[in-house]
């Protein structure tokens, strides 16, 4: 109800509201105007705040004035919100966000700066960061750099001092939106709006842009300072081949901590080559975008399942779903946060999970024999699958956490068990 009122308020100043087929942009005034103030007095102290110098133009026609940090320029991408209270550095370096603007709902971002330990990949793939308030200082003993400097170095755009909650409510009501972020004053609002409307994430292969180019070995375990689950490691060492669709390094660290020897391979790595490595198990990682955009990956998965135990996480889960003959669909605004309750149907326990996906597997489309093992309790969507006869397990969310709770770490142990059983049976 409220939004209706305010949407009306926004359109009042906009005569073209009568013509809904071609809505013109309306300006959401969130800060100081771009034009210099008409205050003539020059003796006055300068304003102790930055003046707005950026715009976020959304495909629904709304324009959000904001202040820029990080890199300048113009970027287009899909806007998604993330409700995690901590872990912005992990989110920035999670390749799954490739092509997206991440809006953090927690207002204060940058408080702890950035550090060496909390990287999830070698670079930032996201299109930009949208936050309410950029920290003016950092406070943390591990901090090596401010967030602004870090993003500038990586050529990532960021904006702050924008009503992130208002945008979140829009995304919740209307679904994900394409937006354009720009610090270029020369570009007209209409031009940016046009850009946002002519861009589409559906069907775009974002994975090839984030995957590694050649196979490599991974050996790092979770740093002993942060190790949280030191019990229950068997003596066996398993060889896991991990498909990098945009893999978060914590998946690798957790597997290493569980005693696995890991070979990371590119997304296009042929199944036959993988099988030649004679792995104990194969992991299909998380990754950005639409699973339907990477049919080659689905084919790879198809060739591998049934031959060795497999574990799919996030994108990997969706690829497994498709490989099994199921359908995936785009959700309204997806799941992005660190507080989603998931029921593990096998022990009926509730796990608080870390989630980041815009697509989901439709369980009704899956063939017989596939077991839904996990359910997202917020909306009942499928959060985990198993096909015991194919030694297959998959989770839609992130058992590796980082950021997020460690409740689901036991799924790595399950994967170890799966490999162990397969090995014993062999």
């Amino acid at each position: 109800m409220a939004t209706v009122n305010y949407a009306v308020r926004c359109f009042v100043t906009n005569p073209s509201a009568k013509n809904p087929s071609k809505p013109r942009p309306f300006v959401v005034r969130c800060s100081v105007p771009l034009s210099p103030s008409h205050d003539a007095s020059t003796a006055v102290q300068e304003r102790p705040w930055k003046v707005a110098d950026a715009r976020l133009v959304l495909a629904d026609g709304s324009i959000w004035r904001a202040k820029s940090f990080g890199a300048p320029g113009t970027q287009v991408g899909e806007v998604v919100f993330n409700t995690s209270l901590t872990g912005y550095q992990e989110i920035l370096t999670d390749p799954s966000y490739a092509g997206q603007f991440v809006l953090m709902t927690n207002p204060h971002i940058g408080n702890t700066g950035v550090n060496f330990d909390d990287e999830e990949s070698r670079q930032c793939f996201l299109a930009g960061l949208v936050i309410r308030s950029l920290s003016i200082s950092t406070s943390n003993w591990r901090c090596t750099k401010t967030l602004g400097d870090y993003l500038a170095e990586r050529n990532i755009m960021g904006i702050y001092d924008v009503d992130t909650r208002a945008i979140t409510r829009r995304l919740r009501q209307d679904g994900s939106l394409i937006g354009v972020l720009s610090t270029e004053q020369s570009k007209a609002d209409e031009e940016l709006l046009e850009m946002s409307r002519s861009w589409d994430i559906v069907g775009v292969d974002l994975i090839s842009g984030v995957s590694c180019n050649a196979p490599y070995e991974w050996i790092n375990k979770t740093n002993s300072d942060w190790e949280f689950n030191s019990g229950g490691r068997g003596g066996d060492k398993f060889h896991v081949v991990a498909y990098d669709f945009g893999i978060k390094q914590n998946i690798l660290r957790r597997l290493a901590s569980y005693g696995c020897k890991i070979t990371v391979v590119p997304s296009t790595w042929p199944a036959s080559e993988t099988l030649k490595m004679n792995p104990d198990g194969v992991l299909f990682s998380n990754g950005p975008g639409d699973p339907s955009a990477v049919p080659y990956a689905v084919e790879t998965v198809k060739e591998i399942i049934g031959k060795v135990p497999v574990f799919g996480i996030c994108m990997g889960h969706q690829l497994l779903g498709q490989a099994l003959g199921g359908k995936t669909f785009k959700m309204k605004f997806g799941h992005h946060g660190g507080n989603h309750p998931v029921r593990n149907l096998r022990n009926s326990r509730v796990e608080i999970s870390s989630q980041n996906h815009n697509y989901a597997v439709d369980p009704a489309s899956l063939p017989e024999g596939v077991e839904v093992t996990h359910i997202n309790l917020n909306d009942g969507s499928c959060a985990g699958l198993a096909f015991p006869s194919l030694k297959l397990m998959s989770l839609q969310y992130h058992p590796e956490a980082s950021p997020g709770p460690h409740d689901s770490d036991t799924s790595f142990e399950e994967f170890i068990q799966l490999m162990k059983q397969a090995k014993q049976a062999a």
């Binding site: 005034r29 006055v44 919100f81 709902t105 406070s139 003993w141 009503d163 309750p341 309790l377």
Partner: protein
């Protein structure tokens, strides 16, 4: 059966009414029959319709056992009533009582409680799961403590007694002497005579996590809280922020993992717990400090901060639900098994009352001393912090933009104010920043994290900028930038040298208005219609006000001495009653501990500071039909005139279209007439109502001549402060001169009021109800036990009256009615009278608003006065409410005050005209002595049935000595006295043993206390210099050794009666409902009932 928390004391306040009320509602909703025990009448939870059986009775193990035997509950829920309930449950479990009656302990089992509360068991448990605790040792004797101190090897050391509340008896010792003093106090305070001596982690950062677990072993974290004050200040006394601001995900997840491991290891099988951590800012090392296996003040804060109702959920979990079976209260669609995400910042700031306890040092340590707190939400830390500061109602409109006293301090003084935690430290930080001290240097002395300090520094920069501008050249965007940082109009006015009104006008002309955001537990991820809101200056307003007929209720703000839970009770009742009458109710308050700020108490809740700016913003937005200012104590009352002014100027029409927005009830003008001394005097003269002789002195000579005119003793007080601040009884010219020199400044701007003090007069409190037709009904007439001169809030009282002749009561009734009519009271009015020994009646004070006694009277007479009052204000007549006659119940209700002296080292325990009690208890029975005895037990006075009484009476009260002494002798007590009193007793032929005064040599009275040779003390103070050292010391000793001490004659006589009744028969526990069921049958018609005056 649910155990309440008893009276409000420091460290245990109305947050437990909030949790208890939620628990009662939740369990009744589930179809359980609820039996409730709580001695505190001022609570919502003890409303007779919230539980099936409500015992407003003392809470000792013996008496609770009686209730268990009578009611035979299936289960006992001890985690809602704070430390009181937990300790009681431990006692009942250990003595085998629970087993005897087959009562199951739910929420937390005995083992879990002991593991969490017993310092040694806790340390062991942490070791088992590999979580570090600070190097420490457990001492059961002073020698053991000293040995531990040696082992740890360095000061400062923290002393934490086991099983106590709010760190009572604990502290930080910087040297050996201090160490021994605190250890002694701690051993005495601990239920198990056990203290933990711990290495100090001063300077480490402090965090708290609120954890919930269900019987299926699902665990979630509701909220993380970061303390701005580093380790060393009790978390209840710290400024805290939610969510934690300076943790990375890895660090936060580590604390989360620890919290989950801890709640499992301790074995809290279901419900909420609170875990406190210390984190070394240098390397992130984590140590766990303690955990509370129950809902706490922090969980109330966390509930309000996140919208997740911890107590309600805990109650449901205790009867077997799992988290995923309960829907999230706010989204309705998603389950409660999740972790709230919030998209705002919450700041809590405690409020203190050191000024009321002269002799105590305003220093914050590990023992909690705050009496209340304000909470504020904002989109950023700066916004929420500034709002929280102005919510405190301490004269600051935010942080900075004010002429704080610290600006004039020299650097040494300022650095001391920064280094030593104290209530005004934030203002010292402001002064230091204004004077150029660097953030790094302030961090160095305060240990406050630089993240917070940098945020504050920016506020100072903004202030500097504003100071360089004039109002006319502030742009719309400037306004947005400044308002988003939480600056109030008043602060901007200060900085731009203009008025608050001008700022508001300019701001609104630029279209800069607050946008209200909703608290929804999920950062807008899911749809939520729960109307729990806070203001921001972001773009989108989500308030969506309705066009219903609606009422805005202004709450009481942070708790303080003199304004606490009683007023919250009234506000809640108003909301309930008006909802029932078909209105939409809108609550506005800033106190996180209360039931009123529960989002389902009213239809809409604005968690906002109670300042004129914030109230007008909501009036503009909501345009309610009525605004209610009568129920929140002084806070909203002070806003009445400016609101009225605004309404007169702007004449806004209500959103419902039913007319203009109006203040309901007694007009602000009438309120002013009662508060303005000169207007009030004129009215009393006109009505021929007597008041004690007095006058207004504008200089010292004035004062002396007035005093001479009316004769000593006189009551003196400054005219510009309320609530008995700086009020004193003076017996001579000398003393008056001293008072005028030291206690107050007297000048024509700030005159001093001087009134005749009526020695030995009996004080009467009256609550009356009047409707807009001029009908007046007396709600209750209460006789104070203590003589006039003791603040009514600190005095025990009895309803009905005990010794007042009918003629005096008739006068009181007639005056009260006359006055209510003359002032056009619509709603409640409270009057205080004094009756002299000769039977003369004087009016002392009249307040046309809800008083502190309303909940007590309502429960005593069985009529919800606050509800009636709110309906009357909405236009109903008393006839329509069917409340036309004064109810004088057959049973006797006694209210007793509870005082916090033990928390304030060094202050005297005497009662006086300045109110210092934090809470109250109620005793009900058919006879006064029994009711009084119940109230005493409930208040924690352990009245002895035999032993030795120490009597020491001053000259003014010596005439009563014989009567008191004989009464104690009759009861079999032995009497000891110091020289003066003993001499009088000997002359009267009463046997008394002599003992030396403290300064006369040893062994003296203090030694006897220490040796356990004195069981009860009756001391009336002479108030002279010697007494203020010697007598105070003795009284402090009595307090330390928990010897009951009575400081008034009337109190002594009532205690005698109570002891007599206790000796003759045991106390019967009777449920509140049973008093009225019985009365309904008997339908007592009391001769003393007064019929309603016909309407004029």
């Amino acid at each position: 059966m649910i155990l309440g928390a008893g009276p409000i004391v420091i460290g245990q306040a109305c947050e437990f009414d909030y949790s208890g009320t939620q628990a009662c509602k939740a369990l009744k909703e589930e179809g359980y029959e609820v039996v409730l025990i709580n001695s505190n009448p001022a609570t919502i939870m003890t409303d007779p319709d919230l539980a099936d059986k409500t015992y407003i009775t003392p809470m000792t193990p013996e008496l609770v056992e009686q209730v268990l035997e009578k009611e035979r509950p299936d289960a006992l829920l001890p985690t809602m009533g704070g430390q009181t309930a937990l300790n009681l449950a431990v006692a009942l479990a250990e003595s085998g009582v629970l087993e005897k009656y087959g009562v199951e302990l739910i929420g937390a089992k005995l083992d879990a409680i002991k593991k969490a509360e017993d310092r040694d068991l806790f340390k062991q448990a942490m070791k088992t799961i590999g979580i570090k605790t600070p190097p420490s040792g457990i001492g059961n004797t002073l020698d053991e403590c000293i040995e531990i101190a040696h082992e740890i090897g360095e000061f400062p050391l923290i002393i934490r007694p086991a099983f106590t509340l709010g760190g009572t008896g604990g502290g930080i010792a910087y040297n050996k002497e201090e160490f021994e003093t605190i250890c002694k106090a701690g051993l005495a305070a601990s239920l198990t005579r056990q203290v933990l001596v711990e290495k100090s982690l001063l300077g480490w950062k402090e965090y708290e996590l609120e954890v919930m677990r269900d019987l299926a072993d699902n665990v979630v974290i509701i909220c993380s809280i970061e303390n701005i004050d580093a380790m060393g200040v009790h978390t209840g006394d710290s400024i805290t922020v939610a969510p934690a601001q300076t943790l990375t995900d890895k660090e936060y997840q580590r604390l989360r993992d620890y919290s989950i491991a801890i709640i499992r290891e301790i074995g809290v099988e279901c419900g909420g717990s609170n875990v406190q951590f210390a984190v070394n800012p240098v390397d992130g090392e984590v140590m766990v400090i303690e955990m509370n296996p129950r809902v706490s003040r922090s969980s109330a804060l966390a509930s309000k901060a996140t919208g997740f109702p911890i107590a309600k959920m805990a109650a449901k979990l205790s009867v077997g639900y799992s988290l995923d079976q309960i829907p999230n209260d706010i989204t309705k669609k998603t389950p409660a098994s999740f972790e709230p995400s919030i998209d705002y910042v919450v700041t809590k700031i405690p409020r203190f009352a050191f000024e009321k306890f002269p002799g105590s040092q305003p220093i914050l340590t590990t023992q909690m001393k705050s009496v209340g707190e304000s909470m504020a939400l904002g989109r950023t830390f700066q916004e929420s912090f500034q709002k929280a500061v102005r919510s405190l109602e301490l004269g600051y409109s935010g942080w900075g933009c004010a002429q704080v006293k610290e600006l004039d301090w020299d650097w040494d003084q300022l650095k001391y104010g920064l280094r030593v935690p104290n209530p005004d430290r934030i203002h010292a930080i402001y002064a230091a920043m204004k004077r150029g001290m660097k953030v790094d240097d302030i961090h160095e002395v305060t240990d406050i994290d630089k993240w917070f300090l940098t945020q504050l520094k920016e506020l100072v920069d903004i202030e500097q900028y504003l100071l360089s501008r004039s109002l006319s050249n502030l742009t719309k965007d400037d306004f947005y930038e400044v308002k988003r940082r939480g600056f109030s109009d008043k602060q901007i006015a200060f900085a731009t040298n203009s008025t608050e009104k001008e700022i508001r006008k300019k701001r609104l002309s630029l279209g800069v208005k607050p946008a209200y955001k909703r608290v929804d537990t999920c950062a807008a991820e899911f749809e939520a219609n729960t109307p729990y809101m806070y203001s921001s200056y972001d773009f989108e307003c989500e308030s969506a006000p309705t066009q219903k007929r609606k009422v805005l209720i202004l709450g009481g703000g942070p708790n303080r001495i003199g304004q606490g839970i009683e007023f919250d009770y009234c506000c809640c009742h108003t909301s309930f009653a008006l909802q029932d009458a078909g209105y939409e109710t809108i609550m506005m308050n800033s106190n996180p501990e209360t039931v009123s700020t529960d989002y389902d108490t009213s239809d809409r809740l604005y968690f906002e500071p109670l300042t004129i700016e914030d109230v007008l913003n909501i009036i503009d937005l909501e345009r309610p039909d009525g605004i209610i200012v009568q129920f929140g104590g002084q806070t909203p009352l002070k806003l009445a005139l400016p609101i009225q002014q605004y309404l007169d100027e702007h004449r806004p029409t209500s959103a419902s279209g039913a007319g203009l927005v109006r203040i309901w009830g007694t007009s602000p003008d009438s309120i002013d007439a009662a508060e303005d001394r000169e207007r009030f005097n004129a009215i009393l003269k006109e009505l021929q109502i007597e008041q004690p002789k007095g006058g207004i002195a504008k200089c010292e000579d004035d004062a002396l001549s007035i005093a001479k005119d009316i004769g000593y003793p006189v009551v003196v007080r400054p005219s510009y402060v309320l609530g008995g601040r700086a009020m004193e009884i003076v017996y001579s010219d000398d003393k008056l001169a001293t008072y005028l020199e030291n206690a107050v400044e007297v000048d024509p701007e700030r005159p001093v009021l001087i009134d005749k003090y009526l020695s030995d007069a009996i004080e009467i409190d009256v609550d009356a109800l009047a409707d807009s037709n001029g009908n007046v009904v007396i709600g209750g007439i209460m006789e104070h036990i203590e003589q006039a001169g003791v603040h009514s809030g600190d005095s025990a009282c009895s309803l009905p009256t005990k010794t007042i002749p009918p003629s005096c009561l008739a006068t009181i009734r007639s005056w009260t009615t006359k006055l209510a009519k003359r002032l056009n009271v619509c709603g409640l009015m409270n009057c205080q009278y004094a009756i002299t020994l000769s039977g003369e009646v004087f009016l002392l004070e009249a307040n046309p608003r809800a008083s502190r006694t309303v909940p007590f009277v309502s429960k005593a007479i069985g009529h919800p006065l606050a509800k009636y009052a709110s309906l009357v204000m909405s236009g109903k007549s008393l006839h329509e409410l069917n409340f036309t006659n004064e109810v004088v119940p057959r049973h006797v209700s006694v209210k007793e005050a509870v005082l916090p002296f033990e928390k304030f080292q060094g202050c005297d325990v005497l009662l006086g005209p300045e109110m210092r009690s934090t809470g109250e208890v109620m005793g009900i029975d058919y006879e006064f002595p029994v009711a009084f005895a119940k109230a005493q037990i409930a208040a924690g006075q352990k009245l002895p049935l035999s032993g030795t009484v120490f009597l020491s009476l001053n000259d003014l009260t010596k005439p009563h000595l014989e009567r008191i002494a004989k009464a104690f002798l009759d009861l079999g007590f032995k009497i000891i006295s110091t020289s003066g009193t003993a001499h009088v007793l000997e002359l009267a032929g009463i046997p008394a043993e002599r003992v030396l005064k403290m300064h006369e040599g040893r062994p003296h009275a203090g030694d006897m206390i220490a040796n356990g040779e004195i069981q009860l003390m009756v001391i009336t103070s002479s108030g002279d210099a010697l007494d203020s050292i010697d007598g105070r010391h003795l009284r402090r000793m009595a307090l330390a050794y928990k010897v009951p001490i009575i400081t008034t004659v009337a109190g002594a006589l009532a205690s005698v009666e109570a002891i007599r009744s206790l000796k003759s028969s045991s106390i019967q526990m009777i449920a509140l409902q049973d008093f009225f069921d019985e009365e309904a049958i008997k339908t007592l018609s009391n001769k003393r009932l007064q019929s309603v005056s016909p309407s004029l």
